[in-house]
Amino acid sequence: MTEAIAEQKDLALLLDYYRRMLELRLFELKVQELYRNARLPGFVHLYVGEEASGVGVCANLKPEDLIFSTHRGHGHAIAKGVPAKVALAELWGKTTGCSGGRGGSMHMYAPEYGFMGTNGIVGAPIPLATGGALSAKLRKSGQVVVGFFGDGAVNSGSFHEAVNMGSVWDLPIIYVCENNLYATEMAFSRATKNTSVASRAAAYGLPGVVVDGQDVLAVHRAAKEAIDRARSGGGPTLIECKTYRYVGHHEGDPGTDYRTKDEVEQWKKNDPIKRAAKVLLEAGLADEKKLKEVEAEVVQLMEDAVTFAENSPEPLASSVTDHVF
């Protein structure tokens, strides 16, 4: 396949990716609004700005493939196919949520969509994902597993131990580091002297690639190549998506004490959704009207999700001891 044809093929996916990214974005903005109005309990870490990573990776997975996610995982859940209304109901603590309201933002589980959980413990999903890939290999299930994590996780022992095992056992796994330059307020360059996550792959002998995490097609290409290789027995890949969160670390953190306004604005100019829209318009794959239609549909989806979640029942207090074992 020539470059040009490959590019055409990718472009054909872009409208779909645009829509999916918009879903993730508008979901999070809805959560932000509800949270700020004290409608949702708990605390939440939003994925605003990082949508291209979750979408570009997950769109290349099959329903039965598994992903393991982080504290910033609503986007991953939806990208893997968890319906927005089910995710929102979970954030609302309702029985119709994917964990029946027991989990909340950092403990969302939907194995029926291959979604093996968000996670409150930084680093923890990396060994878990590696275990998922070991099982897939042992069961010869043909499944591929993705472990998502942030730049903050790569300085933890979990990263080192797990990636090393994934590599030495040639497991069908993609390690996707969403490097948004900060772990809470800690700039990656303050936490480590080697700020190239991809280069760390050399330490474990697996391929490491860097991608522009604000370009959904770039993420798509890197992910597809890695996923195809993993599925055909070629072993794991470490992908570093260079990305950025526009919002604070969690709702409540203004996110401005440790980053300049200018830095945030620069990244917003490079917004993955706006970029996709621009390419779609320029390539004549969609017109303004079409993009507006898509947006209206997604807005409606989120309104429906709110109605669904809001009107869903709370768990019965007496059910508190169910499911411990």
Binding site: G42, G103, G104, I121, S156, G157, E185, P315, S318, S319
Partner: protein, 329 residues
């Protein structure tokens, strides 16, 4: 004494103790995530970085195992170290260093090596954070010989116990409660230390002894006030340190009241509440008029749903009604 002084938060009481001790003892180094310029996730180190800088306030990446081991090693080599796990939940990442290294070193070295390290972390449920951020396993550390365990319930106790902990040969587990960080109380301006192993009588009483720790002290005090109106006089005791434990304060009270309840945010199995009941059985058996009672969280991971979490954790109402039943037996 506790009634005098300014009213400040639990968080600020800790910061004051740290500042005073870091000024007094230049060998103190403080290691943790976000404790530098940010001033701590809970504002628990606010202002310290300005005064002590990067040299003595060491911000780390996300590496609890390494950071805790580094703190313990520094303590073994002649510094005094504080390692802040922030959420006690994250001490689990580091538990081998705490339990295998810090706790054992004094004994195994025949007393030649001490590890004056303070491991700091905040436990307990707050704002429906869910299972990964709400654990209350302070009792595990009490089951590990070689660790001292401090669980302050008030700003006054935070400050006085922190200062003692930072002069103790260690290792000390200094376990705060997230819910309490914003609570306020009187703290004297002049220096004071609270010795380990000295319980506080929260309120004197004659009908029933209630032992409560950490956040449960406040809830139990509220229940005690309700019961008082009904003519039930509860003596509420906060041991403040689990290791060493003021056994005499507990047993003397039981001998006086003849009834016992222990309130605990941990689930009851192998809990500190269970330990209190065991002490009563061993040392006060003949004084007990009714079977003693543990009032604990239900044995489930902290659910996110507020409805479920409220059901899980002892409430003022639940404490009051169980004590009522106990006294009427």
């Amino acid at each position: 004494m506790a009634e005098q002084g300014r009213v400040i938060t639990y968080t600020d009481a800790g910061v004051e103790a740290l500042r005073e001790e870091m000024r007094r003892d230049p060998s103190i180094v403080y290691i943790g995530q976000g404790i530098g310029p940010r001033g701590g996730n809970f504002r628990q180190s606010r202002g310290l970085w300005k005064e002590f800088g990067d040299e003595r306030l060491r911000d780390t990446g996300i590496c609890e195992l390494g950071a805790t081991g580094v703190a313990i090693g520094a303590a073994m080599a002649g510094s005094r170290a504080i390692v802040d796990e922030v959420f006690l939940d994250f001490a689990l990442e580091a538990i081998t260093q705490i339990v295998q290294q810090a706790a054992n070193i004094c004994y195994m070295s025949n007393g030649k090596i001490k590890a004056p390290v303070l491991v700091r972390g905040a436990m307990g449920a707050v704002r429906n954070a869910g299972a990964h951020h709400s654990h209350t396993f302070y009792n595990w550390f009490a089951n590990t010989p070689g660790l001292k365990v401090v669980v302050p319930a008030t700003p006054y106790d935070v400050k006085g116990l922190f200062k003692t902990a930072l002069r103790d040969p260690g290792p000390v587990m200094f376990i705060e409660h997230k819910f309490l960080y914003n609570t306020k109380g009187a703290v004297p301006t002049e220096e004071y230390l609270i010795p380990f192993g000295e319980a506080r009588i929260v309120r004197p009483g004659s009908d029933v002894t209630i032992i409560a720790t950490s956040r449960m002290v406040e809830l139990t005090a509220k229940a005690g006030a309700l019961l008082e109106k009904e003519g039930i006089s509860a003596e509420i005791i906060d041991p403040r340190t689990i290791v060493p434990l003021d056994r005499a304060a507990i047993t003397n009270s039981i001998k006086k009241t003849g009834r016992l309840a222990a309130i605990d945010e941990s689930p009851s199995t192998c809990s500190f509440a269970a330990e209190v009941l065991a002490i009563a059985a061993e040392e006060c058996f003949d004084s007990l008029k009714t079977p003693p009672k543990r009032i604990c969280s239900l044995p489930v991971p902290n659910p996110f749903s507020p409805v479920l979490e409220n059901q899980m954790i002892p409430s003022v109402e639940r404490i009051a009604s169980e004590i009522r039943a106990l006294v009427k037996k």
